[in-house]
Symmetry: C2
Subunit: 340 residues, 2 copies
């Protein structure tokens, strides 16, 4: 079914074949996420070429026939045999935007190429099965947040959280866990340090479940001046969530959140976009940014994560995951004030 | 100093500027590893453009002046102003092999481009300071391997190991920890499962310390037929390590290890190369593979990791890290037989 939809899109773009290297895109089409170099060749009779390292597992899991990937040079020879080059026929090959120029020049110079994100565009809207996997990743992340010991360092709090997620089957955090405490919380992407936790404590973390990601942020506060800022981001987040529905511009959601924060005079302290899609990658389309030209569609899963960062003082952010439907559905247990 | 060496290499290649996007390459030159998009423009007066998310931290850590990265379009305008395009001057821009074709087409179409890995080629030989950081990453990984409880699942053993590394300051494992037990050990890159540990237990893990990686593998065995195989890979590893010295072909080291395993009749079961460089990335040059055309040089740090994998039965691998010097030095506590 999925492969039919892809072939149809390829047909529209007049592509004889599509070469897929990005592991998440291979996972989307085949059900197998490679750990090492793999090349998925999509055409009438699709083929996944996997490195020897992955071959046994690929054969067990892939819904598409599997062969061995040997080298780029060998692949190029195969492509030349099966795909007509410029000299003989204007058959076009599609490649992903994420292909590196190194590989591009090695592999594609002799062919007519179109850079296309057919697979990524299909990934934006999630199927019920995908949504179940995302919920699985949320469940692992939320269960892992229970019973943590906060009388420790940033490093150790992250260690506890990740231990819980790992024990529950998440092969790694969906991104590098952020635990930023006290003045370090003004760094939205702070790496953890050995400093002892102090208010506010911003924790941004996520799990993986069957290759799908979750992503959420909680900030724990104990001071009055922090509570004031917290109320602002809570209001911004609620209004942004309420604005989510199919057909709305993604940039509008950013505007709604940003307007609230600007009204309170903290516009310059909200230094990132309001959210992003989550799926096989923790950051994917759509972008809830003022620059986005995307429209929300039923079945998208997005984060809503306003934040305020005051350099030299502190910062905070809250982040929940929302399923776009006619009555938008918050998939995470909605952020609320948490006092230490 | 580092920047002078880079400018000299750029001069040899007649490059007016070099655009660096890969976080590890940016870390190598500036001392700051970005968490979000950053662009390092290397020229007489180099400049690091960082996303707002990283700006505060970049300014604290970068040894090169920092500005704000706004968008690719804006960057392109800046480049057009400061770097003469094809129309006016044959000034060439260097870009990395790892740049994506998407970015390449957006950013570079109007310039004369050379794809070059100047930074990566400098990274191959490690300075004493870099070797100290690699040793730090080894220390964290080895200390974390002590006092583990093996009466648990693959998932939980990985969780314990990663908890220890995280608590010791490694922001993440240097790659996804492999714990493959019983018949699953025949998968060289197995993801962990909830199955209870049984012999053999293959554990491949590494830590990060100040952005530098470690990478090692231990296999714990308890059966006689496993011991036979273990002795073979131990012999192969020792002979390969003994062959390491400056000036030797990297492919020769692979050959030495492979010959031992072939002599015992397991050549087809050694399904990967013998090793790889380790530094800011856990897999980097040189490759100790039969295909490699690289020569070992003093100051390289490589893994030596022969393995035998018998599909449907079991597999095992041992892996140590070696510094190339006139008297090669094993940096890890050399693998030996470990019985459960």
């Amino acid at each position: 079914m999925k492969i039919d939809e892809i072939l149809q899109k390829m047909n529209q773009d007049e592509l004889g074949s599509l070469i897929i290297l990005k592991p998440e895109n291979i996972a989307y089409v085949t059900g197998f996420k490679p750990s090492s170099i793999s090349v998925l060749i999509l055409k009438e009779d699709p083929l996944l070429l996997s490195s020897k390292l992955d071959l046994e597992e690929a054969r067990q899991k892939s819904q598409i026939p599997v062969g061995e990937f040997k080298s780029l040079d060998e692949l190029k020879k195969t492509l030349k045999k099966t795909i007509p080059g410029n000299g003989t026929n204007p058959g076009k090959i599609g490649v992903e935007h994420s292909m590196t120029v190194g590989t591009y020049h090695k592999l594609c110079e002799d062919f007519q190429i179109k850079i296309t994100d057919i697979i990524e565009s299909l990934r934006v809207v999630k199927s019920p099965k995908e949504i179940r996997k995302i919920k699985g990743a949320i469940r692992i992340a939320e269960d892992s947040f229970k019973d943590l010991d906060f009388s420790v360092s940033e490093d150790n709090l992250a260690a506890q959280l990740e231990y819980n997620m790992r024990s529950a089957g998440s092969p790694r955090p969906s991104f590098e866990t952020i635990v930023a405490s006290g003045p370090r919380s003004s760094l939205p992407h702070a790496t953890t340090t050995s400093r002892r936790l102090e208010s506010p404590i911003m924790i941004d973390w996520g799990a993986l479940y069957q290759d799908y990601a979750s992503d959420m942020t909680r900030t724990i506060i104990e001071k009055e001046e922090e509570e004031k800022i917290f109320s602002i981001i809570l209001e911004a987040q609620q209004k942004a969530i309420d604005a989510i529905k199919p057909g709305v511009n993604a940039s509008h959601i950013d505007k709604v959140a940003r307007n609230v924060i600007e009204e309170y005079g903290y516009g310059d302290n909200f230094i990132h976009s309001t959210g992003h899609g989550v799926g096989l990658e923790v950051h994917e389309k759509p972008s809830l940014s003022y620059r986005s030209d995307e429209k929300l569609e039923k079945g998208m899963v997005v984060t809503v994560e306003p934040g305020i960062y005051i350099e030299g003082k502190f910062g905070m952010r809250i982040e929940d995951m929302v399923l776009v439907t006619n009555h938008r559905k918050v998939l995470t247990s909605k952020a609320r004030k948490i006092f230490a």
